[in-house]
């Protein structure tokens, strides 16, 4: 066929032509523009609309941002500077308020000389989180821990931390780096005692309190070892009983006596000094750390075969999910005193943390339940076939996979909870968004300043939440690859 054809054609080129460049409309920027922005009538309209929106935003806000003032001691001075520099009718942002009051937005009323303590607590938090959050990749871990080490030490130095504590922080951070290079699991004990350390750093006081809190579980473990030979169940009950009884009856007095014998304490800081992002992050981190285990228990309870357990879990979860967080905060601030024995009262931050935890746990439980449901039934059956009992099956087979599936949901619950910490303003705590801004505005110098604090606080919330969601996406992709 082709042979006959070839004979009828008068001319055949026997060398290849060099490839010609594509026409301009099919290459480079023009092609990209054509395909992505102007591929059809609708698309063109959308592009123009998009450009208009951007133009509108820039036109409206540009001069305001461009005329920022960072150095002034009051709003009036700000306005004078703006008028002097950019003309009488110019408007401009007065970010000087952030420069003047950043410490209040970040640390609330925490004593200024002790700012290094929350900084150190935050830095060490990263080390404690490393084996949990950053276990997936050595590189991420290296980067995060190196940045944390540098930033923490630098901040502490700037904030005037005593040399002893600087050395302590440097040692712990270096240890964290070293452990993460060798074997990240070494850091797990640190993660376990971190909650006590963190509380001690933030609130200060005697170190004996946390130490004796730690002694409780140790005694419990001892009891468990002693009783384990008799009956495992008895051992568990005994261990819990010993721990709780020790905490309730002995720990407080023991801590005081120990403090009297050998004073080991740093300056105590009261809860009412907490405010700004320090408060938000404290509530957020505590709520996150506590709500995850509680959420897992609730999710397992809701999927349990036992009717009563299941019903209780359903009632609890649906009740919490059915009411706004703000009413729960009201319960914390107004009603908790009714529910506790007469005369009992405890710290409002603690009460808020409890309520926020319960709230987040109910949502967490639903997310994890979704993960449990998404797990193929074969996994459960395989666990049964191996002869694992319920807890072993959950711990070794079901939960690791289910939690992996639920990571995006868990993280978005965390983000939601962190954003919701701003609601504590309604129970009289100094959140960075409303109460702190109101407090700043209550001063005559900064009366009437509105947008700048909003933008500052919003930007920080955005950075934290966006960072969390991006990291969870990264984690999800990474774990998915392992899964395959």
């Amino acid at each position: 066929m082709s042979d006959t054809h070839a004979q009828t054609v008068p001319f055949v080129r026997d060398t290849m032509l060099p490839a010609a460049p594509p026409p301009t409309r099919e290459s480079g920027a023009v092609k990209w523009l054509r395909e992505n922005l102007f591929s059809g009538a609708v698309n063109t309209v959308l592009t123009i609309l998009g450009i208009l929106i951007i133009w509108f935003l820039v036109a409206t806000f540009w001069d305001w941002f461009a005329h920022s003032v960072w150095n002034a001691s009051s709003l009036t001075e700000c306005r004078q500077i703006i008028a002097a520099t950019w003309g009488e009718n110019a408007r401009g942002a007065c970010f000087a308020v952030i420069r003047e009051r950043w410490n209040q937005y970040v640390f609330g009323f925490y004593p200024q000389t002790l700012y290094w303590r929350p900084t150190m607590a935050f830095g060490l938090l990263m080390v404690a989180l490393a084996p949990v959050l950053f276990s997936a990749s050595l590189i991420i871990r290296r980067v995060v821990l190196a940045i944390t080490t540098l930033a923490t030490l630098l901040c502490m130095m700037v904030l005037g931390a005593p040399v002893g504590w600087l050395v302590f922080a440097a040692l712990v951070l270096a240890g964290g780096l070293l452990a993460s290079e060798r074997n990240i699991a070494w850091l797990l004990p640190f993660s376990l005692i971190y909650p006590l350390l963190g509380v001690w750093f933030l609130w200060g006081g005697s170190l004996w309190g946390p130490i004796f809190v730690l002694v409780g579980p140790l005694l419990g473990w001892l009891a468990w070892r002693l009783l384990a030979g008799i009956s495992p169940l008895l051992a568990t009950v005994g261990a819990i009983l010993v721990t709780v009884l020790f905490w309730l009856l002995l720990a407080g007095d023991a801590a005081q006596s120990a403090q009297a014998v050998l004073p080991l304490s740093i300056e105590a800081v009261r809860s009412d000094r907490f405010g700004g992002f320090l408060l938000s992050i404290t509530i957020g981190v505590a709520g996150i750390a506590l709500s995850l285990p509680l959420g897992i228990v609730l999710a397992l309870a809701r999927r349990s075969d036992m009717f009563l357990i299941k019903s209780l879990a359903v009632i609890f979860i649906e009740f919490i999910r059915g009411v706004p967080l703000i009413t729960l905060l009201f319960v914390a601030s107004l009603l908790l005193n009714y529910f506790l024995p007469p005369g009992t009262s405890f710290d409002i931050i603690l009460r808020v943390i409890i309520m926020v935890t319960l709230f987040a746990a109910a949502y967490m439980a639903e997310v994890i339940r979704g993960g449990l449901a998404a797990l193929p039934k074969g996994q459960y059956e395989a666990a049964d076939a191996l002869g694992l009992d319920y807890w072993k099956a959950q711990r070794l087979i079901v939960l690791p996979q289910a939690l992996k599936i639920s990571i995006p949901g868990i993280v978005s619950t965390f983000i939601g909870m962190f954003k919701d910490t701003t609601l504590v303003t309604f129970v009289g705590l100094y959140d960075p968004l409303k109460s702190m801004s109101d407090a700043v505005r209550a001063n005559i110098e900064w009366k009437g300043i509105y947008w700048e604090p909003f933008i500052f606080v919003g930007a920080i919330f955005f950075l934290i939440c966006f960072g969390m969601s991006r990291y969870s996406m990264y984690l999800e992709r990474r774990l998915q690859r392992d899964h395959r």
């Binding site: 059915g322 009413t327 009603l335 954003k419 509105y450």
Partner: protein, 418 residues
């Protein structure tokens, strides 16, 4: 089988309560039950002792006392002489109003943005991504405060509309005035008012409203009958009769007739004294709260919609095209029904979130349930226990009703498994 195991099982011993799997779960449940009951008893006992100690009682009588405070937005008639109960109902209605408006607007906007994020238009898709990320990652309270502040700071006060050389003029043919207090919109006036149906407790429905509802529902049912008839004809003969003009007529004509009969017209607001009167003043608190809730929730809904559409495999639309379906039919018959199955469950929880988030209304002075029952009433009567319990139960009931209603809808779009 059961017989064999029953006969083979050893006699019951007490230790089996712990060691035998059959009894262990029962033992465990009993223990948990006892613990929960003890806990509840402890809480209730504490509460009673505390109440006794403070000399208070658990008594909802305060609901029937005179409220004494005014509410800016009252869907049902209310004055400061009414009871706290009525004030709470007004608050609840206000909560529902902003929630329903918010859910509708957030759904529409969310779908648009979700689809736009999948658009092939690079610029627009990026712009929508920026919108979604910015709104999702900042607290809702911030958005409420910012939008409210924008309204207050940027819109003019009503007296900017005053006088010969007014700095502002009303828009939409002199019908709507935007001010920093409210948006003044026209009300519907009637020249031939049929009077109202009195439901008692000073709640009235105008007969015209009822007539319109009847006309619309009737028209909708007639339209269904026409469509069913057309379907039957098509099944029988293969030809579908042209029905669009009939459908249009039954839907529109009765309403047009009623508009003419009642002499319905717009009554535009006019500036008298300090404020606009004659029209309806929609407070900025409501608008700001509504906008903030809408924009915030829409960002979440957009993500849900996007995920839902992405969840339908490309093969589905390709198969539909292969069958010769046009793109819009492909969307409505193939993609959407499948995407809805993924979209609806998370959408329900977004609706619930929106309703619950509306309790932030106090930040903009919008008097919702939390502002009346959980705010001023609680404050004036000092009955925090009763007020908060009642408020939580009301929110819970609203949430349960919403999720029940949406579950019915979910069941209707769910994959019918045979």
């Amino acid at each position: 089988m059961t017989d064999v195991s029953a006969s083979a099982s050893p006699p019951f011993r007490l230790s089996m309560l712990i060691n035998d799997r059959r009894y262990r779960s029962l033992t465990f449940q009993v223990i948990v039950f006892i613990l929960v009951m003890l806990g509840l008893w402890w809480l209730i006992d504490n509460t009673l002792r505390n109440l006794a100690l403070m000399g208070k009682s658990f008594d909802f009588g305060f609901l029937f006392q005179r409220a004494g405070y005014d509410i800016p937005q009252t869907p049902i008639p209310y004055t400061s002489d009414d009871t706290h109960l009525r004030a709470s109902v007004v608050g609840l209605l206000n909560t529902l109003i902003v929630s329903v408006l918010g859910c509708i607007a957030a759904t529409v906007l969310g779908i648009l943005v979700g689809v736009a994020r999948l658009s092939r238009n690079w610029l627009f898709a990026r712009l929508m991504t920026v919108y979604v990320e910015i709104f999702r990652n900042m607290p809702l309270l911030l958005w409420i405060l910012i939008i409210y502040a924008i309204f207050t700071e940027i819109l003019p006060p009503p007296n900017a509309y005053r006088g010969e050389n007014a700095t502002m003029s009303m828009i939409l043919f002199d019908n709507v005035a935007l001010t920093n207090r409210y948006t003044a919109i026209p009300t519907l006036g009637m020249t031939n008012d049929p009077g109202s149906l009195d439901l008692g407790a000073r709640i009235t429905f105008n007969w015209a409203t009822i007539a319109f509802v009847v006309a619309l529902v009737g028209g909708w049912m007639l339209r269904r009958m026409i469509r069913d008839h057309a379907q039957r004809v098509q099944d029988r003969t293969g030809d579908r009769p042209v029905t669009w003009w009939k459908s249009l007529a039954v839907m529109v004509l009765p309403s047009l007739f009623l508009i003419w009969y009642f002499g319905l017209h717009l009554e535009p607001p006019s500036l008298q004294g300090f404020n606009f009167t004659g029209g309806l003043n929609v407070s900025n608190g409501l608008v700001a709260l509504w906008l903030a809730l809408t924009l915030y929730t829409a960002a979440f809904i957009a993500e849900i919609v996007r995920a839902g559409i992405l969840a339908v495999s490309r093969g589905q639309s390709e198969a539909a095209f292969a069958l010769g379906l046009r793109p819009n039919r492909t969307m409505s018959l193939v993609i959407l029904p499948q995407a809805l199955r993924v979209i609806v469950p998370p959408l329900i929880s977004q609706y619930l979130n929106l309703t619950k988030n509306s309790s932030l209304a106090i930040a903009v002075g919008y008097m919702d349930l939390r502002g009346t029952l959980g705010g001023t009433t609680l404050n004036q009567t000092g009955r925090e226990l009763e007020a908060i319990v009642l408020m939580m139960l009301t929110y819970l009931a609203v949430s349960l009703i919403i999720s029940a209603g949406m579950n019915v809808f979910n069941a209707s779009v769910k994959l019918k498994e045979r």
